[in-house]
Amino acid sequence: MSHVELQHITKNFPGVTALEDVSFDVKDGEFFVLLGPTGAGKTTTLRAIAGLEHQDAGSILFDGELMDNVTPSDRDVALVFQQYSLYPTMSVFDNLAFPLRSPLRRTSVEEIRKKVEETAEILHISHLLKRKTAHLSGGEMQRVSIGRAIVRSPRVFLMDEPLSNLDAKLREALRVELQHLQKTQGSTTLFVTHDQIEALTMADRIGVLNEGKLIQVGTPEDIYDRPSTTFIAQLVGSPRINLYNAQQQDGTITICDSDIHMPAPKDGKLPADFQVGLRPEDVDLDPNGIFSGQLVLAEPLGVETILHIQSNKCTLLSIVPGISTYHLGDLLKFNIAYEHIHYFGLNGDRFKS
């Protein structure tokens, strides 16, 4: 396994800059997730690391070794695609054996059999080895493609949204298995997704990419608790963060022109106009709360209920555990956890505190 480093990567396509001065590194044994909306440049990054795409500027290093002129086959990376990753004309066994049969590796028949069987064991697909890949379910297919990556212990795993075409239950199950596998095998993994929950749940560290630029790198806690821009604050977390325009006067903050007023933090120097972000879990229902609003919508999800509370012109989302028994139109009192409020400038950047 290896340490992967990207230095100032820029990649242009006719008419678009897919990547602009992107630098980050994936440490040995780390599970790094690149998170970003569609068109952010996630796939382009992976392809550049695999050598399938050549960057216009910058360098890629594996363990300090320059990779820029190394062909894809010699980089020794494994790639798992979102779809189309299994060779449809081969059996599952042959698919798993394919990387081992490469002329670069010259593995003996006996060893191939052993390794394929071991891999199949780990992924619970031993019973499928003889099947043609066309007859597998979506989840089984994705297991086999992950198998094809781990069968040969490459220097780094690159995964391009491998779970996004699966149904919700399978995605949950594979998410857990993938994470367990990565932790127990200690493999260096770069995982690409546009799904914030996948990023939060699996990553050791997350890199957020938007329009070709890397805007924040950090642990899931960093990204969730200290998003560096409103874009990231809205990207992660479900239900979505409450985001309001706010004014400050004489140490009192007013949000969305309503009668929700709160004290400004003592240490920070806030301008007159800015934005505040409020996670739904930081809007606490409390019979003695100092704010109040009307319940306009309740969305019971089972483990928790999302409440939409209308207070003047402000709609706040709040979550309460379990399935709530409030009725629409009820007047609800609540408090706001001031210490968890996020402050952003009008340009969307977080104020340092």
Partner: protein, 365 residues
């Protein structure tokens, strides 16, 4: 506005029984969600209600009228498709006005109703645009507007959010629900996403393998699933379902020597529900597990997931079973740590593995 009743409605495509005979009564103004995995017959059921598909048996009643063989256009029902099906060569205004113009409404009425519905959906500024220039979410709003403008007796929606990005889905979901709260039009909504179903439905019809598994409020299907399928399907992650042997008021679970003492009030029910057998499935939601150093149950950490405001721990309790429990996200748990926990006695459920059905407690809990 209207009630919908299906009586023994079924559909066969050649040898394939796509929908087995089902009964369903939808009250006036109710928001009903048909929920189930792919291919379970949701769309087919919806299409039979709309008249786009004929029934192979049974009758459909709309507002007390038998409409089983009535042409779709005569049923006064609006259908919203997964793919918006907007006319690309018409402006948004004309797309929305189209059904009214088809009914030969006067120019003023059309104008008034289009403006109203555009305000409701906050798309007034888009009325002059063509569908191709709109984002997916806006296109879906226009499609909704086109359905709303007719003021039909009922709405049928087939995965209207299926083609949208995840964060868009979340906000469109609450928009549609708010619209329903305002208008109270009878709505049948199809989805395979259980979160959407829970969040939106007044009642949820859980389907699987062409048959109804349970009909109930979100709280019913979440807290009291009628069988193993519903227990597994609802919730993210689903209910933990651990097989074991029941004897002497104790369930012996396979694997890590877990002995679970059944709470008071279940014993007679279990003896009856198991029909004298001893095989049992213990079910509990991830949030029902309470981590406690002296807990009677134990599992080994397999993986842990930070999910934003909370976290989920995945524990192995034997080779095959992984269970999920909700925890405080700030505590890290390395792989293979032993975790002791108890199950909140109010929140435990039992199932008979042979019939897959839930066992009803003696007294209402």
């Amino acid at each position: 506005m209207s009630t919908i009743e299906l009586r023994q409605v079924e559909k066969k495509f050649g040898d394939l029984h796509a929908v087995k005979p089902l009964d369903l009564t939808i009250q006036d103004g109710e928001f009903i969600v048909l929920l189930g995995p792919s291919g379970c017959g949701k769309t087919t059921t919806l299409r039979m209600i709309s008249g786009l598909e004929t029934v192979s048996g049974g009758t459909i009643w709309l507002n007390g009228r038998n409409v089983t063989w009535l042409h779709p256009s005569a049923r006064d029902i609006a259908f919203v498709f997964q793919f918006y099906a907007l006319y690309p060569h018409l402006t948004v205004w004309r797309n929305i006005a189209f059904p009214l113009q088809a009914q030969g409404e006067s120019r003023e009425t059309v104008d008034k109703r289009v403006t109203e519905v555009a305000q409701l959906l906050r798309i007034e500024h888009l009325l002059g645009a063509h569908p191709g220039q709109l984002s997916g979410g806006d296109q879906q709003r226009v499609a909704l507007a086109r359905a709303l403008v007719r003021r039909p007796a009922a709405f049928l929606m087939d995965e209207p959010l299926g083609a949208l990005d995840a964060d868009f889905r979340e906000s469109m979901r609450s928009e549609i629900k708010r619209l329903h709260v305002l208008q109270h039009a009878t709505t049948v909504y199809v989805t395979h996403d259980q979160i959407e179903a829970m969040a939106m439905g007044d009642r949820i019809v859980v389907m699987s393998e062409a048959a109804i598994q349970q009909i109930g409020t979100p709280s019913d299907v979440y807290n009291d699933p009628s069988n193993l399928f519903v227990a597994r399907f609802i919730g993210s992650p689903g209910m933990n379902l651990v097989p074991g042997k029941y004897a002497d008021r104790v369930v012996q679970m396979a694997g890590l020597d877990n002995r679970y003492a059944v709470p008071q009030g279940w014993h007679t029910a279990l003896n009856k529900g198991l029909d004298g057998g001893s095989d049992i499935v213990v079910g509990f939601r991830p949030e029902a597990a309470q981590i406690n150093d002296r807990g009677s149950l134990v599992g080994k950490v397999y993986a842990s997931e930070m999910q934003g405001s909370s976290a989920v721990l995945h524990l192995t309790i034997n080779e095959n079973e992984i269970i999920h429990i909700r925890t405080d996200r700030l505590i890290p748990y390395p792989i293979d740590t032993l975790i002791h926990f108890d199950i909140n006695p109010q929140m435990v459920r039992f199932f008979n593995p042979k019939t897959e059905a839930a066992i009803k407690p003696e007294v209402a809990q």
